[in-house]
Symmetry: C2
Subunit: 357 residues, 2 copies
């Protein structure tokens, strides 16, 4: 039996509360399917670590987790003590870049028992993936200020789109669309306003589409695309987007399905040269941290995606099924956390899901 080494990083805030529940579900799945997972916990990539060491991670962070098979990540950020751009660029965004996790994959699915803010939608109606570019684009660290502190102050930041960076994310997205029954891909653009990089993105989509004659594709400007997410979420299958647009769409999609607190994401290096990282879409949520009421489902769903990534599709599906089973019982029956209208604790809900396994 191969042992899989998982680096566990709880991070900040509710990350510390939901990660143990994710591990509980993973343990249950590992037992049931006979999978050998070894968990190594790390305290860095957190604002607590920063408070002690003046940096988010030790200098040798890459050596310490670079050899693991995956990273199981909670959340990072505690703006009261460390500005977000410092904590994020010093940890999560470093992982994404230095481990070349160029795919950020985020499912949007209407789940049973979860009230959607949209009228007249039911489970099965909405089921798509956002495929987000995760290493370049609008998230660059190139730029700066001139005439600082004066009336003439002016601030620049560069967006950077490389052929390699664009093509590889498009290829991943077209491959995924090709494997799905609907074989439909939607590209997010804004080439009418962002007139240099976005027309380039469109060009590369058109070029890549030629290799996938069986995939139907369309494109929408990001403004109207957000409108379509609200009005016609049933029309999407695979949505591919730049770093910033993907960031927006992968919060908006789960918001439309009512699942923002429970949505997972996978930061993937498809070539497996580096560990991939699995983290819920939600953040560290300082407002509810420490109360034991955070919803652990996003973290548990991350475990499902991680199992799939490690080659255990059946185990991953079982974890997802356990989540759905508990949710389907509905308010009054399932131990739901307050964000879902229940009174249960993080642990109650985590245990119920592990038990359902």
């Amino acid at each position: 039996m191969t042992q899989h080494r998982i680096a566990v990083i709880a991070g900040d805030g509710i990350g510390k509360e939901v990660v143990p529940e994710g591990l509980r579900a993973l343990d249950a799945a590992a037992r049931k399917f006979g999978i050998d997972l070894r968990f190594d916990e790390f305290d860095f990539a957190s604002c607590d670590y920063y408070a002690k060491h003046g940096q988010m991670m030790p200098d040798d962070w890459k050596d310490r987790i670079g050899g693991h098979d995956a990273i199981f990540f909670g959340a990072v950020g505690w703006p009261d003590t460390v500005p977000d751009h410092v904590s994020l660029w010093g940890s999560l965004l470093k992982f994404r870049r230095e481990f070349d996790q160029y795919v950020n994959l985020r499912p949007c699915r209407l789940m049973p028992g979860v009230p959607s803010p949209l009228a007249n939608r039911k489970p099965g109606d909405i089921d798509f993936y956002v495929v987000r570019e995760n290493t370049e684009g609008e998230y660059s660290s190139v730029g700066g200020r001139m005439y600082e502190g004066t009336e003439r102050e002016i601030v620049f930041q560069e967006s950077v789109f490389s052929r390699k960076g664009v093509d590889r994310i498009l290829k991943f997205a077209f491959d995924l669309a090709q494997r799905r029954p609907k074989k439909h891909l939607t590209s997010a653009t804004k080439s009418n306003g962002i007139s240099i990089t976005m027309p380039y993105w469109d060009e590369r989509v058109e070029a890549m589409a030629k290799s996938y004659p069986d995939v139907h594709w369309d494109k929408f400007h990001i403004d109207i695309l957000t409108a379509h997410f609200v009005r016609h979420p049933d029309r999407f299958d695979v949505v591919v987007a730049s770093n910033l647009f993907g960031d927006i769409l992968s919060d908006l999609g789960p918001a439309c399905t009512g699942t923002i607190a429970i949505a997972p994401s996978a930061n993937i290096n498809p070539e497996r040269l580096y560990p991939s990282l699995f983290e819920p879409v939600h953040g560290s949520a300082p407002d509810i941290a420490g109360k034991g009421i955070a919803n652990p489902i996003g973290q548990i769903w991350c475990g499902a995606m991680m199992l799939e990534h490690l080659g255990y599709a059946e185990a991953g599906a079982a974890v997802l099924a356990a989540i759905e089973k508990v949710l389907a019982a509905g308010p009054g029956h399932a131990p739901l956390t307050p964000d879902m209208g229940g009174k249960a604790s993080t642990q109650d809900l985590g245990k119920a899901i592990a038990d359902a396994l």
Copy 2:
């Protein structure tokens, strides 16, 4: 009686169908309130003009409309013949910049009789403004390509935020918030990911807020903010955003209220050194152009905003009330266009609103 000279530019597609209905309502309001409006129609800023002249506008466009009191604009763009970034940067975006219309003001309001895609919301629940920066930010024309056509190809585009540009839009938004009963301002940011320009935006918001101690303000990253638009649209009052974020939020907001086809926008030069421009949020809609079924309400609502801008608040309110009256009659009674579930033509709906005045 002062005469107000209005430059009328119908543009492309459904612009040509809805602008006459906007003028019909303006005529009715002018008669009723004794306002002297003179309409001068121009055929430029359209793809038809481009087909004849190889450019979107004549060289002396600024002389021809720069002396008018306002521009009443339909829609521009016909991607089959002219790429969007060419048609837009050659017309609409030129107006915004060269007439220094640095405020793009867009109301989001749940209207009677308009079905919202959101569950359990009623008129009055949602009523806020998006105040969008309209001249700089992510919409720059600075950037370019290197290693073109090769595997190493790389494309850059600069975002540019100036102290002057940021402060003046923030001032407009805080002033507006201060005049409204709720006195609440929300700033859209992404300072955790867009780590150079967006922290600067946040700094300026914080500095500006000091001059408005009676305005409550908060800020959200754009990803979660789009989620809040769907989940808690009732919480907003004035939302201020950069050019790109404002573009997104001002499509998403109307989508949440079901009014994307009927939402107006005002491109304002508050100092009145140049004409302001009033245009619906929707575009030229090639898919339905020429059929006479486009919804004219966005254009008519623009007329209401223009009247208010010209100093006729009462007349503007009367136009809006006429729209609400017709909408409130509801499907089956009001002559609604197909996008609203009716069978009426653009003209039928336009006439009904003019009559209601």
